[in-house]
């Protein structure tokens, strides 16, 4: 495969916000002293009058965002996933989720690919936390084009949305000219009959690579990109379960409470079939270069391919 351009989805987030500043006059962007890292600094440069730096106070930031939304503004509140979903969980639940306010949470530096900062900053629990809030939409874009499209879609949607972005540059595999973001709809990236690889975020391209490895062994793997984890595209997941009979999920998140468990629940209830989950096992992360960490925790195409073979072996014949 030819070398692809790479870009971190946090960059896409900042740029998409800046692009929206011209057309969306009720848009306001909040940050908690991380504008250079979350890339909301790009918006600040384009539109300083509608940028609010709340300082290192994420709980207050979520409440301020709620008050702005209750007064008709469209706030994007930004921080690292650890602090947006973790530290401020209860504020997100009670001040944003319960009143179903029109707040968008832009959470960057999700997952272990934060890298050298280590376990305190590597949030592998945010999808689990956000999924449990009634009415919360959870979106985890896989590349630049998808991240930009997701930001635009979120700005136009009335209700709370959690957007998850990464620090690490990832392949830009979607063509921005033809890419279409459909709220709550998964995307079949390649067809296959033996097994379905259902991935989200930076694991999507790794799933495509895993399908290539499997193809060399004569295994036909379908690859599905789930950018919207909640609401889950249940219909597509169940169709994959019925048509391929085995599934493997892949996410840069704990295997507990994320995409894997969402897929397991849907499949268990709607079309029982073996599902194996690739993700961070029930452990904390550690310091190291991002790419090495992904390998260390088994978030690789090779591991996905191995799990795919194991899932196929579990099929009832």
């Amino acid at each position: 495969m030819a070398e692809m351009k790479k870009k971190a989805t946090r960059e896409s987030y900042g740029e998409a916000l800046a692009e929206l500043s011209g057309t969306c006059e009720r848009l306001v962007v909040l940050d908690a002293d991380l504008a250079a890292a979350t890339k909301t600094g790009v918006f600040k440069k384009a539109c300083p009058g509608r940028f609010i730096d709340c300082g290192i106070a994420e709980q207050n930031m979520m409440g301020v965002a709620a008050g702005l939304a209750a007064s008709g503004m469209i706030p994007f509140a930004s921080s690292f996933a650890m602090f947006a979903a973790g530290r401020a969980f209860e504020q997100v639940r009670n001040s944003i989720g319960y009143p179903h306010l029109n707040v968008k949470i832009g959470a960057t530096h999700a997952g272990i690919s934060v890298g050298e900062d280590g376990a305190t900053h590597q949030c592998d629990e945010d999808i689990a936390l956000m999924r449990t809030i009634p009415g919360m939409t959870v979106i985890n874009p896989a590349d630049d084009a998808e991240a930009r499209a997701a930001v635009r879609a979120a700005a136009g949607y009335a209700g709370p949305v959690y957007l998850r972005f990464g620090r690490l540059a990832v392949p830009c595999f979607n063509d921005p000219a033809s890419y279409r973001f459909e709220w709550g709809k998964g995307i079949v990236l390649r067809d296959g009959q033996d097994v379905t690889l259902i991935a989200t975020g930076l694991m999507v391209w790794r799933a495509v690579e895993a399908a290539e490895l499997l193809k060399e062994e004569g295994v036909s793997a379908r690859v599905v990109n789930i950018h919207t984890i909640k609401p889950l595209d249940r219909e597509l997941v169940l169709r994959c379960a019925a048509e391929t009979g085995a599934l493997v999920t892949a996410e840069e998140h704990s295997v507990i409470g994320g995409l894997g468990e969402a897929v397991c629940s849907a499949v268990c209830e709607g079309c029982p079939a073996p599902v194996l989950r690739v993700g961070v096992e029930d452990v904390f992360g550690c310091s190291g270069p991002a790419v090495d960490l992904l390998e260390h925790f088994g978030l690789t195409a090779q591991n996905l391919a191995a799990k795919a073979r194991a899932a196929i072996a579990l099929k009832k014949h």
């Binding site: 409440g63 702005l68 209750a70 007064s71």
Partner: protein, 282 residues
């Protein structure tokens, strides 16, 4: 303030207190103490101070009120009902399944509730957001938030205070219902927040200490807050927990306890007598 205005406020506040007891009694649970201590402030805000229209609760230019001490919900509901947002008869459905009068304020269900609150420390941040929104949109509405003195033990309150001071939110007025008691006892014994005024002043607030049950002092403080420019105001209102019901006054045990039938009759009797006296003197 004219005697007639004072009388009207006394009547409104007593009706709020009657609504509190009515609601909490029928719910067999709830928080009468802090609702009664703040009834005079609620009466003043809803019947005198705020630019509101009960026929149009979503009016964009209305003044906002955030009950950050959300457990005083029975007081807010009684103020809203008596002000015409919904029928007073509905107060007896407090905390019942199917009622819109949730245990803590729910902005989605109840007309006139500007923010869902209940988890302490959160409402004040939302009030900051509303005040900031007015600045961004060039609107002249004001935002009021009522906090408990125990509530300000929450760290988020001080994050919000730092934000409000830094952003120079002069359209924001916080009122601390300083009744001196929290669930576990005297606030000074649990984890003292004093001196409250100096703490807010340190974050850039104009501060005013008043008697929470003196309408003249409430009026003056709110007028002063309106005239304060380039910074928010904090009014520390010294109050009596359980105010208006003899056996509840000054008792931490009435923070979150509902009266039994006998206590209910006594409380309602005392308040009715008070109401008749005010109405008779009108």
């Amino acid at each position: 303030m004219t005697q007639q205005e004072t009388r009207a406020l006394q009547i409104a506040a007593t009706k709020i207190r009657l609504g509190v007891i009515e609601g909490v009694y029928h719910a067999k649970s709830g928080h009468p103490g802090g609702a009664l201590s703040s009834s005079d402030i609620l009466a003043y805000l809803y019947f005198q101070e705020m630019r509101i229209d009960p026929q149009n609760p979503e009016w964009e230019d209305r003044d906002r009120f955030v009950l950050s001490k959300g457990h005083a919900a029975p007081g807010l509901y009684a103020a809203l009902a008596n002000r015409g947002y919904f029928p007073v008869e509905e107060l007896g459905t407090l905390r019942h399944i199917g009622s819109r009068l949730q245990g803590h304020p729910d902005m989605k269900g109840i007309p006139g509730v500007d923010m869902s609150t209940g988890s302490l420390g959160q409402g004040v941040s939302a009030a900051c957001g509303m005040a900031k929104a007015a600045k961004l949109m060039g609107k002249d509405y004001r935002v009021y938030a009522l906090l408990g003195d125990g509530e300000i033990q929450e760290g988020q309150v001080w994050e919000a205070a730092m934000f409000a001071g830094h952003q120079k939110l002069d359209n924001l007025c916080l009122i601390v219902d300083n009744n001196g008691l929290q669930i576990d006892g005297n606030i000074e014994d649990i984890c003292s927040p004093y001196p409250i005024d100096e703490k807010f002043a340190a974050f850039g607030f104009a501060t005013i200490n008043i008697d929470a049950h003196d309408y003249g002092q409430i009026a003056d403080a709110l007028a002063q807050a309106r005239q304060t420019k380039d910074g928010p105001t904090a009014i520390i209102a010294k109050s009596t927990k359980g105010k208006g019901v003899s056996f509840m006054e000054g008792q931490a045990s009435w923070h979150g306890t509902a009266p039994n039938e006998e206590q209910y009759r006594q409380a309602m009797g005392e308040l009715q007598k008070l109401l008749e006296a005010y109405e008779g003197g009108r």
